[in-house]
Symmetry: C2
Subunit: 125 residues, 2 copies
């Protein structure tokens, strides 16, 4: 068996399953601290890495911000609020045809794409 059970790893996964925001490692750490007074930030990073490796969660890399994490694994796009920094999923379906079009216009193989939208979230607009 490659992985044993870990209370903190289970909690991370659970927190990500029950939030729509896209917390950073440090934000998760802060949210867990009440329950895990001796928790170390390194443990959070290590467990996030394991969960990503397991395919249970995804790392989201966005302009300027530290890495964020989410448990929604179907491909989707993100919107970043330029006022408050909030990150939200965008309810617009992923257009695979874009990849085909780029392939046609270049000599490259294109396997996927990511889109980040910038603007103001509902609270800020």
């Amino acid at each position: 068996m490659k992985y044993k059970k870990s209370r903190s790893r289970d909690l991370i996964r659970d927190m990500l399953d029950h939030t729509v925001d896209h917390p950073t490692a440090h934000e998760l750490f802060d949210r867990m601290r009440p329950d895990f007074p001796r928790l170390s930030l390194a443990t959070v990073y290590r467990n996030l890495g394991i969960l990503v490796e397991q395919g249970a969660i995804a790392r989201v890399e966005l302009k300027g911000n530290p890495e964020r994490y989410e448990s929604r694994m179907e491909p989707h796009y993100h919107l970043i609020c330029e006022n408050c920094g909030a990150v939200r999923d965008v309810p617009v379906s992923v257009d695979d045809e874009l990849d085909t079009r780029v392939e046609a216009a270049t000599d490259c193989r294109v396997t996927r794409h990511e889109i980040q939208f910038f603007g103001l979230c509902e609270s800020c607009s």
Copy 2:
């Protein structure tokens, strides 16, 4: 006058005007060192920051990599080679209608978007 003339800043701008790759601060530093033996990496970073602030160049933030820079200022998309890490511009026109569609599907204001395509560049495919 807010900015004075600077040989190293001019050279940075010039190098970015004459390359299609998207160099990092350190790559620029290495390319300049032959001409500027006492150049400091901090100067490269400072000048890149000034050029971005002036709107002369753009900072390109891409998955995993350190920040990259380019002098092409018209909006365009990027493709990252998952084999060699090369970054290239994509000859597909920017679709502003995407922003409108996201606005319609949310309560957000959307001002722009960025797309990164992933795959294999011509040399690697």
